[in-house]
Symmetry: D2
Amino acid sequence: MLSHRMKSRAPEYKRQKATLMTIPQKMKAIVKAERAPGLTLVEDYPVPHIGHGEVLIRVRAGSICGTDLHIYHWDDWAQHRLKPPFVVGHEIAGDVVQIAPDVDSVKVGDFVSLESHVVCNHCYYCRTGREYICENTRILGVDRDGGFADYISVPAQNAWKNPAGMPLHIAVIEENLGNAIHAVMSQDISAKFVLVTGCGPVGLMAINVAKAAGARAVFATDISRYRLEMAREMGADRVIDASSEDVVAIVRDLTYHEGVDVLLEMSGAPSAINQGFAALRGGGVASLLGLAPGPFTFDLNDNVIFKGVLVRGIVGRRLWETWYQARGLLEAGVLKLDPIVTHEFAMRDFDKAYETFISGKSGKIMLIP
Amino acid sequence: MLSHRMKSRAPEYKRQKATLMTIPQKMKAIVKAERAPGLTLVEDYPVPHIGHGEVLIRVRAGSICGTDLHIYHWDDWAQHRLKPPFVVGHEIAGDVVQIAPDVDSVKVGDFVSLESHVVCNHCYYCRTGREYICENTRILGVDRDGGFADYISVPAQNAWKNPAGMPLHIAVIEENLGNAIHAVMSQDISAKFVLVTGCGPVGLMAINVAKAAGARAVFATDISRYRLEMAREMGADRVIDASSEDVVAIVRDLTYHEGVDVLLEMSGAPSAINQGFAALRGGGVASLLGLAPGPFTFDLNDNVIFKGVLVRGIVGRRLWETWYQARGLLEAGVLKLDPIVTHEFAMRDFDKAYETFISGKSGKIMLIP
Amino acid sequence: MLSHRMKSRAPEYKRQKATLMTIPQKMKAIVKAERAPGLTLVEDYPVPHIGHGEVLIRVRAGSICGTDLHIYHWDDWAQHRLKPPFVVGHEIAGDVVQIAPDVDSVKVGDFVSLESHVVCNHCYYCRTGREYICENTRILGVDRDGGFADYISVPAQNAWKNPAGMPLHIAVIEENLGNAIHAVMSQDISAKFVLVTGCGPVGLMAINVAKAAGARAVFATDISRYRLEMAREMGADRVIDASSEDVVAIVRDLTYHEGVDVLLEMSGAPSAINQGFAALRGGGVASLLGLAPGPFTFDLNDNVIFKGVLVRGIVGRRLWETWYQARGLLEAGVLKLDPIVTHEFAMRDFDKAYETFISGKSGKIMLIP
Amino acid sequence: MLSHRMKSRAPEYKRQKATLMTIPQKMKAIVKAERAPGLTLVEDYPVPHIGHGEVLIRVRAGSICGTDLHIYHWDDWAQHRLKPPFVVGHEIAGDVVQIAPDVDSVKVGDFVSLESHVVCNHCYYCRTGREYICENTRILGVDRDGGFADYISVPAQNAWKNPAGMPLHIAVIEENLGNAIHAVMSQDISAKFVLVTGCGPVGLMAINVAKAAGARAVFATDISRYRLEMAREMGADRVIDASSEDVVAIVRDLTYHEGVDVLLEMSGAPSAINQGFAALRGGGVASLLGLAPGPFTFDLNDNVIFKGVLVRGIVGRRLWETWYQARGLLEAGVLKLDPIVTHEFAMRDFDKAYETFISGKSGKIMLIP
């Protein structure tokens, strides 16, 4: 861990001699090696070969996401979905060091962030602008080798070119920022009251995006003081501690007893979901991103039907609209994302990094190969 | 009861000498007289006076709706909402016989159907085109005197002028048809696979509206053979008996394993709701109108989030867009609603009418004063 | 039909004692007195009586709009539309001093801004949420007495209640701000490149609103240095002098040769309209508010069809969605409108005020009774 | 950058034995051979080889489109755009006879219709669901070899699989039908008054699609009796001869003086465009597909701004939403397209076919190799 709350960052990306470097045969990688909890640092994992339409990325940084914890803990979901061994990590920024001959969307030397969903381009969803629910999606670090390693190969379309000077701590969280942007941008936000339930990293970024889009006010709930403090830093007009405060009553007070226009559900906690819907005004919109632990008792009558509410399931990013929106917002300078990246570790210290993430006392955590 | 499955109808409305008639002081009315089950035929209920902006309607027909049963049975909802005594009935067609001096939207002699939601025109919802969730809504036959009577008074804007020659059995169900139109027209239907869960009258009309709008195919589920037969008559391409058939498997088969694009939930039955969502494709749209008996176990992850589904609560009618749409569809002649009105009773035989409705072996039931 | 059943109502309300001051019988008013250029200060114009559903406003300030110039100059449009004598002025803020007995949406003492379009509430447009194109619209200061006077009467729904502490120079321009909000909010703005052609007051406010909504960048064109300087002050990222610079080339440069996503046309100048469309990217959206002097040569093929562009005519304000949006944005504090009000005159000095407005060297000009 | 890491691929696929017949080396093709009017039947044109991701189609039928006339006549547009020699024809149906090894979306033996726009999949438009304005579009029979020939090669994604039993005269016009569907489906049609200006093939099909989608009524204008008769056959409720009748007055009469809700402009004739806008109601939607001969005098004030109209440029088909919609409508059996294909010629008689098309006394004309 290099810093607790990092202030200074590497100022600018210098063009590296990557293209001249010999690409090695072996590399270091953090690997889900066995059908059991934990991860393994492998020193001699093969550097991936690229196939048709693919590119090879030398990783500059990765960041840890909630999904990575499921893999780490080897929970039910992980046991059903995963087929070790594979390299973990899907939030990745790095440099293009090799491209297949048929690739022209990026070139060697480009500084890129990776879209983690490898989509098929052929199914109904891909063919109608809804690639985020592609029925053949393969996710980096889940269904194929990820990027907590020295190198990763991806289809060229998954390598999103950044400006050369983009700070690394922004580039590495761009994929995760995309989840927040997808959720926020799915309905009108300008001049609207917005409630964000759940201040994990995506919730925190959603607060910031909603403010940038001219929300009337953004309220945020969580049960962690640490998270609520971060929510304030990210721009929430009022943070509400759901463990001790009456969320619905406070929101009613703050909104002239109308309720919020928009609910951005980022927690997956049934209690928060119910509070969110109770705080939502008639005709409001709820964008749901947080995954509940499972089915739970829900009141469709009061939450949805009587109020004429619109509910939208949010998964992944709109490909590639969300990335273009991220570019626009970052270029405009209206996002204030620096506080969200709270820690940085060398990749080989991944155990400490995961422990910190598990502690709940962090924002995004960067890993540097 | 005049006919089982009526074929012939009064061919055309003859202009009556209503304007010359003396409006009596007393009238017959079906009244919720006490805080107890049942209804009472009152022979000398006062004919309502009209206030500013109101009109007086001489009722030609009413029809029975599910809400009327709650009132009849004096269930929980009824006990909390209602304040007897009041005249019941909110699906009404009749003739304008008197107008307040400031009314110019209708005139004496007009043949009208009534919008049952009396909205305030002043709240946020009314002022932003969402009168159907007006926070001050007062419903005919629920919150103020209804129309199972000789006369009813309503605000002029609630009297929707019909062509003079519109058949009475169509005019009387126009309000209820509006529920179906609201649900169907809230998303693209043309060229889409549509599933209607629940073949009560609104579900049946929704089938017909979806077909008129060029659906790719409409499938309908219910657990009543009688209803399923009506669904077929209303145009369903395939009816599915949810009591004996595997709804989800059949829908998958019928849709090349894709699922339907649109779910129109009209049953309020948790099992049907869950089947409907299971049969809905990724990126699909669910319009929910049926009210469940209460909260129930629902899987937001699988039903909404992972699939990127849009869910919309449907209540009432869009005022007045839905009525204009009804006019357009009726005028175009693309709806085939005759089979939906299966019974007709004299209003004084209301007990037999309600019994028939309760039996489940009916479509819409008309009451004639 | 007059009836004993109607409670009789006074057609006009008597001056109530509830008002805090004595309302005089006569007042000062700026009047279009004759079918000729110019305006007249009348010292003894009758204070208006209020009718059913109306309120009386004591004017605190008015502001001048382009429409007022047409009336002043008695141009073609004016000669065909206007029927002198009448009080001019439609951008008005003031205090409610009297309400009809049936009014409860505002009360005596409320500080209000006026919506200038008096709509009928009965036509198709009013009944389907599109009151801004009500076919019976009567405009304050055009079709009925306006508010450059001590008092003005309006339907209660046209009196929009402000927070008591809202600065007068903001309240008075709120109606005009609504034009800008209507134009800006009619498409997605967040993360988009926006071009505003024409930096009159509405264009200037549109720049500010687009910035508040998180535009990627806002570019603005005009041929007046004064206006361009104001555009910069209102937040434009780049101002372009269309009299000396190559608008299209510059916009292309600023947008990586893509063009802007959104065109907000505020000038009505054919050359600016054509530049705007040329600078608009494929699939872009053009919201047109500025009125051209008349028909002109326009290339629908290149401007609209080949590029798959969406064009939207903008008139008035969405009633009342736009006013709610204005409330939200003002409350959020994301607008910076102070620079737009550049001058203030006593109402009796209206000639100087109009001259200043005509000079083009002003933003909004306030008149104080 | 060439690399040992790339598995080498053959740049061009060898004729496979998997095909059911021997694919010849030479074929007959209708070729734009020189920079001059006319076309040439070439007997020994090389059968195209397929590249990566491509398929070879044995043509069963082609149909003639307006674009083909520009090529035939060698007009201004043609002279600037085209680079002879190349095979013409872009409305094509046929059988897949060969696929590249990496293709799995279609297989040998599939009966397909061709999408004529070969899009890049990489540009902003392709990456945001707007492939129809792809900035690198290459059109079959315009920018690369078309299909008035025995064989044509296309990218696999351009081969849309039909049911094996689809009639050939439907399959061959499916691409052109897509233009009509794109235009019609771009706004709500159910329960709406629709005006189609221009009854060429796309206009005729638009009439039929609008009827299938439950329009309130569809009116159609043209100046050819032949076309108007076809319009009636395709389902128009009223056809209007613009050469002798007052289009605007008639439409007003037919719509209770409201005007139509939707204008589908298919003629490109300035007079028809102006009539269409004049007949469009306030708040209406105009979808423009017909290309005018050039810029012309247009009244943005009256046509667009004052009426709050939405105008949409329509080009090509939404890829691939439009094709899915076509599939849905065709499968539902709600389209009645048989009358639209009026002639069939052997491909070698192309001169007669073009003459017939030029005469204006035809619908779609099929060419059979």
